[in-house]
């Protein structure tokens, strides 16, 4: 057994608990002025992504049960010092910061520039006030992928910024799904820049997951986060993104690992009956999916050990990346990895930090 404090720990999914008040001064005009005059203040979206009349069923803090010592989550308002304190608490050496608020971008379906303006402001805010490679605080840049030109602007902005180590595509709400040719220019550019694409599930639309009417977050969070990632994995693999862009590193974040053997098995079974419908593939889609990288959180540590062992075997421990998801309500500490009995110490070190260090060039 290893002690995380004595080994490299890279957290691939730390959520910076931002507020619109923090980001607005960095937004491009006219949204900088429009937002500041709007009266929305810090609640441009409900910070907890829940409310008495909710935008998403349930309450992130489980109705007051959950508290975070090193973050103002779920309301937001964190600062760099909060991140550093939290990293010390969790024995994390490096983090990849992902905006908390951007996870709701899938709820914006209008063809306007709110998402783009928020992202551009967020990037400048993070560069000015939070990201610090010397402290191990790196960032992943969200992309307003519904607008390819705006996404290219974002890539132009970060390409020479060594604090940004990849991009984020929020899987919730992405339509058409992210294997569509529409997104090819993004993938082409990320491949050329050596920026991994991190697909991150999100909370938008959870109440209407396939059908409306669910009543509790245990239902919508279990189903919705899974569906958002599964739908994009299937699209990205079947439409041949890994064949089109063979040097692009693909990472899927925040749905645990146990769904993957089932998804791969089902998809491969379909492929044997309908291979011509994935004409760019030279092998079953599962062969491509197992070349993707996967964030471990929320790891199903209560699952049968032999099931987890099968998951690790199918995906390869060299493709798993420790992710805390801190300060979100269901975060994983590094001990989740070190306590797993079916891994040896070298595999634990790979998952905790060495794999991510290589993928993201830290």
């Amino acid at each position: 057994m290893i002690d995380p404090a004595e080994h490299l720990v890279v957290d691939c999914d730390w959520h910076y608990a931002d507020t619109f008040d923090q980001i607005a001064p960095y937004m491009p005009e006219p949204w900088k002025t429009k937002f500041q005059n709007s009266g929305w203040d810090s609640t441009g979206v409900n910070q907890g992504l829940s409310a008495f009349f909710p935008t998403s069923t349930g309450n992130r803090s489980n109705y007051g049960k959950i508290d975070r010592e090193f973050s103002d989550y779920p309301q937001g308002g964190d600062e760099k010092a909060d991140v550093i304190e939290g990293m010390e608490f969790l024995d994390i050496d490096a983090t990849l910061q992902i905006s908390h608020l951007i996870l709701a971008m899938g709820g914006v379906t209008a063809d306007d520039r709110r998402v783009e303006s928020f992202i551009k402001g967020y990037i400048d805010y993070m560069l000015a006030e939070v990201l610090d490679p010397a402290e191990g605080i790196y960032g992943l840049a969200p992309l307003p992928y519904h607008d390819i030109d705006a996404s290219m602007d974002v890539l132009d902005r970060i390409e020479d910024e060594r604090a940004f180590k990849g991009v984020v595509m929020v899987t919730a709400g992405a339509s058409p799904p992210l294997g569509n040719r529409k997104y090819d220019p993004i993938y082409e550019r990320c491949e050329a820049l050596g920026l991994p694409v991190v697909y991150h599930t999100g909370g938008s639309g959870l109440d209407d997951y396939v059908r409306a009417g669910y009543e509790e977050m245990i239902e919508t969070h279990t189903l919705g986060f899974l569906e958002s990632n599964m739908s994009q994995i299937v699209s990205v693999a079947c439409q041949g993104v890994p064949e089109k862009f063979p040097d692009l590193d693909i990472v899927f974040m925040e749905s645990g690992v146990t769904y993957l053997p089932g998804l791969i098995s089902r998809l491969d079974e379909e492929y044997l009956k309908r291979a011509e419908e994935a004409p760019l593939l030279d092998a079953p889609p599962g062969d491509y999916i197992s070349d993707f990288y996967f964030g471990t959180q929320p790891l199903e540590e209560s699952a049968r050990p032999d099931l987890l062992e099968i998951c690790f075997d199918m995906l390869g421990t060299e493709h798993l990346l420790y992710a805390s998801d801190y300060p979100h309500w269901d975060y994983d500490s590094p001990n989740i990895i070190t306590d797993l009995p079916m891994l040896d110490d070298e595999q634990r070190k790979d998952i905790l930090g060495r794999n991510a260090s290589e993928v993201f060039g830290l």
Binding site: R181, E188, G240, K244, L272, A275, L281, P284
Partner: protein, 123 residues
């Protein structure tokens, strides 16, 4: 007919796409004509045991990608395939390999046409 051969019938009785099922020992073999060439594959799908040679004989659909942002254009390629009518598992006539996963292979047999007669070689 020589040893190790089974006579199938007159070559000119086959049109492209025709299949003749014969017995080779205890198994069925499908003799298929496609593009003027003869092929012979075991008539048993490795998936569920279906009659793999009794489905449609076609060219394989392939996709060509013109570059970023372009649609993947589909067209019928050069390779002939036969599809099991039970579930659609499809195999190259040339090799017997599954078109999507070459770890699945239907056994194939050499076919010769001599003096206008089709023979399947069983050695």
């Amino acid at each position: 007919m020589s040893d190790g051969e089974i006579e199938v019938g007159a070559a000119d009785a086959f049109a492209d796409g025709d299949v003749e099922i014969i017995e080779v020992g205890r198994v069925e073999v499908g003799v298929i004509k496609a593009d003027g060439e003869f092929y012979a594959l075991r008539n048993q799908c490795p998936h569920d045991g279906g009659p793999a040679c009794e489905g449609p004989v076609e060219k394989r659909l392939v996709g060509e990608w013109g570059g970023p942002g372009e649609r993947v254009e589909q067209r019928y390629g050069d390779d002939s395939i036969v599809s099991c009518p039970w579930h659609g598992w499809s195999f190259y006539l040339e090799t017997g390999e599954h078109i999507g996963d070459d770890s699945y292979v239907v056994p194939s047999y050499d076919v010769v046409v001599r003096d206008g007669v089709v023979y399947v070689q069983t050695d």
